[in-house]
Structure formats: C-alpha cells, structure tokens
C-alpha cells in the first residue's frame, strides 16, 4: 500500500535571540522519520520542547516563529512538499492537508461568522461550490455533535463555548475533504469532562470520513484512544515508534515505560480520620460585583493527612483556597484552624496564623519573584518569621534545598535559570521554611510534564511522612487524588457534591457528577474511550 505521508530524516532549526547575547541557532528536531497510510492515525507524543508541534506543522511545510526546515523530505503522495514554490504549497494547505490548533478560540477570526470560516478553504481551492460546502459543513456539524447544526454557522466565535469551538475547528479542517489532518493538542485547553466528548467527536468524524491524521499530544492515555501508531519523542529525537498496542502494552524503551506507568501510584488512606486541624463550616463567598462563587461549603481535614478537592474550572475550588488564606473573606460561615476560629480577612490574622498555613501555586513561574535568587526566596520566610540571618539562615536554606533534593549549588540561581520542576521544588521549600502545619496546594503539578509531576507528588508524600504536615490539594485529576489523598471533596459549580474518605467517595454508588468526572480521566488502556461512552450516565455540561 502506498504511503500517504512519508517523512524522512527531518531536521528543523530555529534561531533564538537571548537578550544581551549573540543570536543562537538551536536544533529543534533531528533525524525524525515516519510513514502514515491513508485513513490511519499516528500519535506524536512527548513533553513540552519535544518538537512535536514543529514536526506536525512540517506536514504543511510551515515553520512557526522562525523555525526552518533545513533537512530531510516530507513526501505527500510521493511528492516532496518542501520543494514546492509558494503557490504549490498553497494548493496543498487547506486542501490536501489541514490543521487543528490547540486554541481554537484564538485561531478563529473574531470578525467573521463560523460558517464562512469553515467553508472558506473549500471554496478558495475550488473543491466545491458554496452550496456543496454548506451542505458538507452541516453534515460535519452533525457528525461532531454540535448543538443546532442548522444555525451554528451563523454564529461568531465569541458566541460559542471552548469545546464547541474546538469541534468547529475540526469541522473546518474536515470540510475540504483533505487526505490528512494535523491535530495539535486539540483537547488540552479543555475541561476534563469536555475533553472526552471532543475526543470522541474527533474520533468519530475521522473514522466516518476516512481521513488520516497526525495527533499531537502530551498525554499518552489520550493518544492511546485514537491512534493506530504512536511515536514517542524527546528533545526533538525519536525515542520509540511502533503500533499503539506495542507501545502501550510492551514498551521497549525506559522513557516510554516511565510514561506508561506514570500515574499508577495509589496510596492507602489513613484509617483514623477523626479530629480536625482545619474545619470549614457552611462557607458562602463571592466577588464584590455580586457574583457568588461558593454556596454552603463544609469540609474538614485531620492533622497530618491530605484532603483533595476535585472539580473542573468554575467549580469554585480555587476560590475556596483563597477563602482559606483570607484573600477573599467569606460572606458567611467560619473556618477553624487547630481549634481556633481564623479571622476572615488576611489583615486580621497574626503573623503566626499566617505562618502556619502556606501555599503552593500552579505556576511556579509567576509565584516567585524573578529578581530574587533561590537563597532570597527560601530565606525570606526564615528571616520574616524566625528572625534568622547570616550563617544560620544560609545553613537552614541549604538544609531545605537538601530536603527538596536540590543541592547547595542552586543557592544563587535565579528562577529563570531553573527548570519547571525545580521551580516548583523551590516553591515547596519556601513553604516548608515557615514550618507550616498546613500547605494549600493549588494544582501544583498540572502545568508540569507527567514524569516531573510524578517526582513532585512523591516529594510531597515524603515530606508529609517526615514532617507530618497536612495538605489541602486542589486538582482536576482523579489519578492524583488516588495517589495522594486521605479524604476527598468533589465540587461542582460552587457546591460540595460529595465529601468523605477516599475509599467511600471513589466507590459506588455515585451521584451523576462524580460518575461523569471519574469516567472522564483517560486511562492507559486501549478501547477505554468506547467503554466509557457506553456506560456513563450524564453528558458534560460545558460543551
């Protein structure tokens, strides 16, 4: 069978302009080769910086932001598209090969109706008449499960939700009947429950139209649901390339094995869940403009244990963290910490009360002052709460660096000189420096690559064993909950849906929302998607 797309020995470079230095040429992709047959799906998977998007765009002979394809061949039906001139390449793009971007919200032109944008490529390339194109768009809107498909095309991009936009973008790519579609992390920006529906819609649509696809993602479990073959990439090079079954069930390389087994850790919950370090009682909270976010939320956390708060965006879980810290005083209800009621607002709390509750953020980048060194960042709580300075302070900072598995050589580095995982570790050390009894963790691993995230979770678990610190862990990821929690609170639209010991919350009988949430987290198992779609009771509301 002839290959539809055949990439041979691809090499891609980019020039970076570090401020205050000479421009540097970086190799992004080197020696990557793969083949794709008609109607098949190849998953490209890797961490950020693995070069997967760059490879995907090379199928359209496109280099984003100064990327240059400098070596290799990209054969589409046997013809090297890298050698085409501008008009030649324009006749490939949007006709034979189409692209679905990660953020459909930005990729649609705000000035035009969705329908016009969906059929534009088909009309411009003379593939079909306006009538035919509109009919096809309607058909695709139906296949993709968009609401009111007849009138959907009359709407503007800002008038529909993120999940719908992502499907509309898929329709836009499918409309000209291309032979190949490049999906660039199409579900990453969506909520978990929406992600499954969009993923299912995409899978259904490409099967229905028999289109080949390159599916780019960082999530192996997602790609396992949709692709025939998988290529694992790291630092712009191929790690492993094989059929989905082989890669998932019998990975050859260590790196792939680690990716497959990630998020498999499970921890038993503490047997005794009586007593409460933190007690939240009937909290109501909202913003100054009258928008109410939390309704009657109560939960509690025993000393030395972990309470996981799960929910999607808009569930109010981050707002709850702000209420606990005092940044957002609740309008009703009370918070008790170690038997004493906490003043509602930050201003009313003593330094000691502040010291005992510390916080770790999702984005370690913005949570640390870029103009301070690691020494200053970790040292400040030491001098602020305990009046340490000089050699004693340095000693203690070094101890803390040891605790987070980073040596003293990091003392005088700036945050910009650290990797994402290292930054998050420093943020943890800053929290530990205050000798807190409770650490609020607001999605501390969701911006990190899976293996790095795993490391952070293990670190947090070890620190809990060593220091008996308690965690409130905010997340949208059930796998993390399984790995670390003792008790779980499920939140939905500002209300508490379910609360109790992990074993109870995560086992049936379920309420509808918890059922949906549990069935929305992709598992590293081929055929999981079909199974889940058959058994779940409720469709996600956010699409």
């Amino acid at each position: 069978m002839p290959e539809l797309l055949s990439v041979k020995n691809l090499k891609i470079e980019a020039t970076s302009y570090p401020p205050g230095e000479q421009p540097k040429v970086v190799t992004l992709v080197e020696g990557v080769s793969f083949d794709l047959q008609k109607g098949k799906v190849l998953g490209l998977i890797g961490e950020s910086g693995a070069g997967k998007s760059t490879i995907g765009l090379s199928a359209l002979a496109y280099g984003r932001g100064g990327c240059r394809i400098i070596g290799g061949e990209v054969l589409l039906n046997g013809r090297d598209i890298l050698k085409l001139d501008r008009s030649g390449i324009n006749s490939v793009r949007g006709a034979q090969v189409c692209y679905v971007a990660q953020s459909a919200a930005a990729a649609f032109n705000p000035a035009h109706k969705l329908g016009d944008q969906v059929i534009e490529a088909s009309l411009r390339h003379g593939i079909m008449t306006r009538d035919e194109a509109e009919k096809r768009a309607l058909y695709l809107f139906r296949v993709l499960g968009l609401p009111n498909p007849e009138t959907f095309g009359d709407r503007y991009p800002h008038q529909v939700s993120g999940g719908q936009l992502q499907r509309a973008m898929t329709a836009m790519a499918l409309c000209p009947n291309p032979e190949l579609i490049v999906f660039d992390e199409p579900t990453t920006a969506l909520d978990v429950t929406t992600q499954i529906d969009v993923l299912a819609a995409i899978k259904h649509a490409i099967e229905e139209t028999n289109t080949a696809a390159l599916y780019i993602t960082h999530d192996l479990a997602v790609v396992a649901q949709i692709s025939d073959d998988i290529m694992v990439l790291r630092h712009g090079k191929t790690v492993e390339y094989g059929t989905t079954k082989q890669v998932i069930e019998a990975p050859k390389e260590d790196y792939t094995r680690a990716l497959v087994s990630v998020r498999q850790t499970k921890r038993d919950e503490a047997s005794d869940q009586s007593g409460a370090l933190l007690k939240i009682e009937r909290i109501h909270a909202g913003y100054a403009n009258g928008f109410k976010v939390l309704h009657e939320v109560s939960m509690h956390l025993p000393k030395g244990q972990t309470l996981a708060i799960v929910g999607e965006s808009g569930s109010g879980k981050s707002t709850l963290a702000r209420v606990i810290t005092g940044l957002l005083p609740p309008s009703e209800g009370r918070i008790t910490f170690d038997g004493k009621e906490l003043p509602r607002a930050l201003k009313g709390r003593t330094n000691d009360e502040l010291r005992r509750i510390q916080m770790i953020y999702q984005m370690a980048d913005t949570a640390m002052n870029p103009r301070q060194t690691v020494r200053d960042i970790i040292g400040r709580p030491l001098s602020f709460y305990f009046g340490m300075h000089g050699a004693r302070k340095t000693e203690r900072v070094k101890e803390l660096l040891d605790q987070i598995e980073m040596g003293p050589r990091f003392l005088d580095r700036y945050p910009a000189e650290l990797s994402g995982g290292q930054k998050q570790r420093v943020a943890i050390a800053r929290a530990l420096a205050a000798r807190p009894e409770l650490i609020l963790c607001d999605e501390p691993t969701s911006a990190l690559d899976p293996l790095v995230a795993e490391g952070i979770l293990n670190l947090l678990l070890r620190l809990q064993e060593e220091t008996a610190v308690s965690y409130v862990f905010i997340t949208h990821d059930i796998a993390i909950v399984r790995a670390i929690a003792d008790s779980v609170a499920v939140m939905h639209r500002g209300r508490l849906v379910r609360f109790g010991p992990k074993s109870k919350v995560l086992s049936p009988p379920f309420d509808d929302y918890t059922d949906l949430l549990l069935k929305s987290v992709p598992e590293m198992e081929i055929g999981w998607l079909e199974k889940v779609l058959k058994t779940r009771r409720m469709e996600s509301a956010g699409n």
Binding site: Y99, F108, P110, R124, Y156, A189, K292, S313
Partner: protein, 367 residues
C-alpha cells in the same frame, strides 16, 4: 484608559483557556452580565445587557460631556485657585492699590467667582465668550474668524498625512525587519524628536528663502481666492504633516503587526490562502479598529500642533490668538481658546473610542 478588569485573577488560576476575557481593553465596559440571573435591576442594567453596544456608546458620550464640564470648571475655577491676582498681574509694575481696585471693578472681578463662572459657562454654551480685556473686542467674533483658518490648516494636514502614514505603515509591515522597514524606523525616530518650530524654520529657510518656491509669512485674508489660500498654507501644512506623520506611521505599523502575528492569520495561512486574501479578508477587518484609533488620536495631536505652527508662520488662527493673549494675560481670550482646544481634543478622543467600540465584533454581535 487601559484598565484590566478586576476579575482576571481568579479566572487565571483555574488554568483553563475557556474563552478569552472579553474586551478588557475598553474603558467603561459594563461588568459581565450577572450569571446568577439577577437581570431585573434597573432599566439601565437591562439596557446594557440587551444592547451592550448602544449602552457603551451612550456611556462614552456621557463621559465626554461630563469631562468637558469638568474641564471648563478647571480652566475657570482652577485658575482662580492659583496664587496671583488677575488685576495685579494684568497691571504689572504699575499696580497701585487704587488702580487695582478700579480694574477689578472694571473687569467684574469683585463679584464672587461662582457667579462669574456660571455667567461665563452660560455664555460659552451659547457661543458668547465675553469681551477681550486687551482689545475690548468680542472674543467670539475673533474666534469665529480664526477657528475657520485653523481648521482649514488642520484639515489639509490630515488629508495628506493620514493616507501617507497608513501607506508607509503598511509598507513597513510588508518589509518587516528588512531594509525599507529599518530606514523608515530610523527616519521616523528622528522625526519624532524634531521640534515643530525647527521643522517650520527649516522649510522656510529652504523653500521660501533659498529657492523662493513658497510664500512666507503665511498670511491669509478674506479677499483671497481658494488657490491663493492653498499656496499660502503649503509650508505650514507640510510642517504639520511632518510632525504627525512619524507618530502615526509608527503606531499604524505596531497595530498592523499585532494583527498579523495573531493565531487567526496563521490559520488563514495554513488554509493555503493567497497573501492578498489573508490581508484583505482576515487581517484588515481586525486592523481597522486600531488604525482608526491611531488616526483619531493623532488628529487630536494635530489640533494642538497648530498652535506652534501658526506662531512660526504668523498664520492668523486660534493658536496664535491664544499665544498672544497669554503674553498679555488677556484671560477671557485664554479661557475661551483653552476650552475650545480642549473640546476638540476630547471630541476626537471620544470619536476614537466610539469607533473602536463599533469595530469590535464581540460587542457588535453580543451573545
């Protein structure tokens, strides 16, 4: 007026893209429609919910009227609060107590200032700005003649500079980071740094004195024909054009570049569309609003620019009238001119905002 909404914090921490924050760059955007469904509220709130566009524009118009009123208060009352007495400064060295007393009575300064302000404002609304202290002529009459001259000058400067600036800006984008762009960048950077009077005298030196192809001073009078007027204002218009051109061009370039680097232009490119279609269909509709904004802001600048240019070319417009009045401390004239200049400035800024609102598809097609 670039304020970001107070809601950005909590939205970001949840880390999902969802939809981009709506038009946080426009001032006075009403708070997001209340999701809890308390739409009842006042009439205004319901109106703002159903017709956000009309509500926003009305709001902006109201703001401008309020601003103009506050400015009039400032120009009249604020000056009153400053140290120094009109009569004393007016008389200068020869201020004997008796003379000061007389002149105060003469000019009506003995009445309380609130009464004088209301009188003045009432007159101003009807187009009557009182009489000049220096010449005892009606201020409105003088302004009537000179305002037309100034607008004549500004109109032709705008007529030439706007297309030229937009064209050059597009040229710079087309050749981004290549030679023509770099040359335009250096020249415009230099042009921004030139004071108006320097450009003016430079032009006079070469075109009027050395080569004798233009006239100086640029006097215009009633009996002049239209073409005679045009040739008289050639140099002042050229000066004004040079003054605003660089600014307008640089801002146009930035506005277009911003649109060209957006994700939807990349989408268009990946659809295999021609360069012309990408620019005409995908970039232009989104670049119109910022470019119009740039133009309106620079026209506002132009109105003020006429002051210096008129003095350089001895052109009988509002600017020169005002500067002369300031040197002899002829307060009624200064206040009237100040208010009119401010009114034009406020009006053009408002026009810029309203056009930006009108060009925003998110507001034109509410959910």
């Amino acid at each position: 007026m670039m304020e970001s909404g107070p809601m950005t914090g909590p939205v970001l921490t949840d880390g999902t893209a969802g939809e981009p924050p709506r038009s946080a760059d426009l001032s006075g955007v009403p708070a997001k429609p209340n999701p809890t469904g308390e739409i009842g509220g006042t009439f205004w709130r319901r109106f703002g919910f159903r017709r956000p566009l009309a509500a926003l524009i009305l709001q902006r118009l109201g703001l401008s009227v309020g601003l103009l009123f506050a400015v009039s208060l400032m120009i009249f009352g604020g000056i009153e609060a400053l140290p120094g007495d009109f009569a004393t400064t007016y008389l200068g060295q020869s201020a004997t107590p008796q003379a000061v007393e007389n002149i105060r009575k003469d000019l009506g300064l003995d009445r309380p200032w609130s009464e004088r302000y209301l009188n003045w404002l009432g007159g101003a609304v009807q187009g009557d700005f009182g009489t000049s202290w220096a010449s005892k002529n009606s201020v409105s009459e003088q302004i009537g003649k000179r305002l037309g001259n100034s607008l004549f000058l500004a109109f032709f400067a705008a007529l030439i500079s706007v297309p030229l600036a937009v064209g050059l800006g597009m040229l710079a984008v087309q050749f981004r980071n290549r030679m023509p762009d770099k040359i335009i960048n250096v020249i415009s950077l230099a042009a921004i740094s030139l004071p108006e009077f320097f450009i003016g005298y430079l032009l006079i030196m070469f075109f009027a004195v050395q080569w004798g192809v233009a006239t100086f001073p640029a006097t215009v009078y009633d009996s002049m024909s239209f073409t005679e007027r045009l040739s008289a204002i050639a140099l002042p218009v050229a000066t004004l054009v040079l003054v605003v051109l660089a600014h307008m061009m640089r801002m146009t370039r930035a506005a277009i570049l911003n649109v060209m680097s957006s994700a939807y232009v990349e989408t268009a490119e990946l659809k295999g569309l021609s360069t012309f279609r990408i620019i005409a269909r995908h970039a232009a509709p989104n670049a119109v609003a910022p470019v119009i904004n740039v133009i309106a802001l620079n026209l506002a600048y132009l109105v003020v620019g006429v002051v210096v240019v008129e003095v350089v070319f001895v052109y009988p417009g509002m600017g020169q009238y005002m500067v002369d009045a300031v040197t002899v401390r002829d307060m009624p004239v200064v206040q009237a001119c100040g208010l009119i200049f401010a009114a034009f400035y406020i009006f053009l800024n408002m026009a810029a905002d309203v056009l930006a609102i009108l060009a925003n598809p998110r507001l034109r097609h509410p959910r």
